[in-house]
């Protein structure tokens, strides 16, 4: 995992430096004189040979130093630290929401497979995975903030302000989790031990929730981990729609300002988050499935 993040960092570093365009010229602006650009280049360390820049970057990274923001002149780690909490809160609330609704919905659809309720659930799933997250956010603002005036449209003040962004961000994951839960449950419901449980006279409820769902959860949990990547991507768009003061908005603002050190740092942090969540998922298998043990 450390290795993956290290390679992501090196790749981003190389991408920033090898792709066409002179970062110093871009940051300085079109009107800057050649001297000003040269001075900026020296200040940013861009006049060093590539390998030296690489060494400086990697040794900084090892010490938790992501460089200096070209936009604000603050350390990139400081810029990221100030907004990390907002994004983490949004991501966690959305994931919880997606799991709490997606898993029961998928299980329910599997139990009622082929019937009207299943069709309804499948339609919901289709809408969820096809929905542009940015458009959903705007439509929710239109209904709940502008027409009904129930919830704030933007910002992060008060507990109510997270409702719309979290619902928006959760929607895709919710649908995807429901879809995977449904197919996993369908498979499990035809297993011998489910039939045995039924023939013993175990109630339908206990069969579904205790016997079937527990066994159907392994693929669902994998998906929750992989889903987190989509969630981070969605967060960039959701934060922009709702003016949520998190990492996604910082990324977009940094891209517009050509603040490459911050962009580079953010991509690394996103990759690190994604890797950590998937590590957690791997470890969690052992909890739900006693056959999986880590020595």
């Amino acid at each position: 995992m450390v290795l993956t993040v290290f390679f992501v960092a090196i790749t981003v570093f190389l991408m920033v430096r090898l792709l066409p365009g002179d970062p110093a010229r871009v940051i300085a602006g079109v009107l800057a004189s050649e001297q000003e650009v040269d001075r900026l280049r020296t200040r940013l360390g861009l006049d060093e040979p590539l390998w030296r820049q690489g060494v400086i970057f990697v040794s900084g990274l090892a010490q938790g130093n992501l460089g200096t923001s070209a936009r604000t002149s603050n350390p990139v780690t400081e810029e990221i630290g100030a907004r990390f909490g907002a994004t983490l809160t949004l991501a966690v609330v959305s994931t919880v929401l997606a799991v709490l609704i997606g898993v029961p919905l998928g299980a329910f659809a599997a139990v009622r497979a082929g019937r009207f309720e299943d069709l309804l659930a499948s339609t919901f799933v289709l809408f969820g995975i096809s929905m542009p997250v940015y458009w959903l956010g705007l439509m929710l603002i239109l209904v709940f903030s502008i027409r009904l005036r129930w919830l704030p449209a933007a910002g992060a003040e008060g507990p109510l302000s997270i409702v719309l962004p979290a619902v928006t961000l959760a929607f895709f994951s919710m649908a995807f989790i429901a879809r995977i839960t449904r197919s996993s449950m369908l498979e499990v419901l035809h297993q011998d031990y489910v039939r045995t449980a039924r023939s013993k006279g175990v109630t339908q409820r206990a069969v579904v929730w205790r016997h079937a769902l527990r066994n159907a959860l392994a693929p669902v949990i994998t998906v929750i981990g992989l889903q987190f990547g989509e969630l981070l991507g969605g967060a960039i768009l959701t934060e922009t729609v709702f003016a949520w003061p998190g990492l996604g908005r910082l990324l977009v603002a940094s891209i517009f300002a050509r603040d490459y050190p911050t962009v580079q740092g953010l991509v690394i942090v996103f990759a690190l988050l994604f890797a950590l969540v998937n590590l957690a998922v791997d470890l969690f298998y052992g909890v739900i499935d006693p056959r999986v043990r880590y020595g």
């Binding site: 542009p132 458009w135 239109l142 197919s183 960039i236 768009l237 729609v241 891209i255 996103f270």
Partner: protein
């Protein structure tokens, strides 16, 4: 009352007993697959015939009639510069399909050979390719596209490249796993045993048999690609105004959501419908091509 037994020979067998005929029949029997196909065809027709379907030009401004609600002369209203929204959506369909098709083509042209080589030759080549794919996956799709656009700059070609590159890992993974299983099938073993060069076996026998899931993935990727490209447009990092790109229309229109919501409602609805179409079509194709997977989405 004995009736002579009818014997069906191969010649007399109904056309649907051919493999592709069966696939087609299965596809047409699914209402959702047909609905998906209908939406996609509608989109193609809208894109192709856009200039004939509307009296307006997508860039034609009319500052006397800005932000108008839907009316007879402007069925979906006008935007902040008085441009007809329906016209822009119709021309946008063209652009959306263009971006989607080319981006998916980039993903396939790079991803499929990577997957084939990885799965067929295995060993060190496989290991290296898979680590690269892992690396791309750990960026996550949208972030990878966004980072590439940030570095390459905005504009149509760069968006296609960025979004296309972000679909490579999925194709590479998918093809690798099909090739790994096809490789073990006896006719491949037989070809190799007969001394057919491995490269020829690879392109003539392995690849065609690995294509069905690729077609399904390409269709589903069209939906995902449209979402990603429009997302970039929404952020202002995609195709630039005044080009009638749906995501960019949405991004510009959101400033007017308080005064005229139709400016954001309709372009978003168009993206939503297009993605639904490709998702339904992809699922329908998968069910038709591989009946064993039915219901196991």
């Amino acid at each position: 009352m004995a009736r002579p037994a009818t014997i069906t020979t191969f010649d007399e067998a109904p056309a649907t007993s051919s493999l592709s005929g069966q696939t087609l029949a299965r596809f047409l029997r699914s209402p959702s697959a047909v609905a998906g196909l209908a939406i996609v065809l509608l989109l193609v027709l809208a894109g192709v015939f856009a200039p004939l379907l509307t009296p307006y030009d997508p860039a034609q401004q009319d500052l006397r009639s800005v932000l108008e609600p839907p009316s007879l002369s402007h069925p979906l209203g006008t935007d902040q510069l008085g441009r007809d929204i329906l016209t822009r959506i119709l021309f946008g369909a063209r652009l959306t399909l263009f971006i989607g098709a080319f981006a998916v083509a980039v993903g396939m042209v790079v991803g499929v050979p990577l997957g084939v080589i990885s799965g067929f030759y295995r060993g060190t080549v496989d290991l290296v390719i898979q680590r690269v794919v892992d690396l791309m996956l750990s960026f996550t799709t949208f972030l990878l596209a966004l980072t590439l656009v940030a570095l390459l700059g905005v504009g149509l070609t760069n968006v296609i490249v960025a979004v296309g590159v972000s679909t490579i890992p999925r194709f590479a993974r998918l093809v690798r796993s099909s090739v790994l299983s096809i490789r073990e099938v006896s006719y491949i073993e037989a070809s190799l045993a007969l001394g057919v060069p491995s490269r020829r076996v690879l392109w003539r026998h392995v690849l065609p048999n690995a294509m069905a899931p690729v077609i399904v993935q390409a269709t589903l990727s069209m939906g995902a690609t449209i979402l990603t490209a429009a997302g970039l447009g929404f952020l202002g990092l995609g195709v630039q105004p005044p080009t009638p790109e749906w995501g960019a229309m949405l991004g510009e229109g959101r400033n007017y959501i308080f005064t005229q919501p139709s400016v954001t409602t309709f372009p978003g609805l168009a993206i939503f419908l297009a993605v639904i179409g490709f998702n339904l079509l992809g699922d329908g194709l998968r069910d038709a091509l591989d009946p064993q997977l039915r219901g196991r989405k």
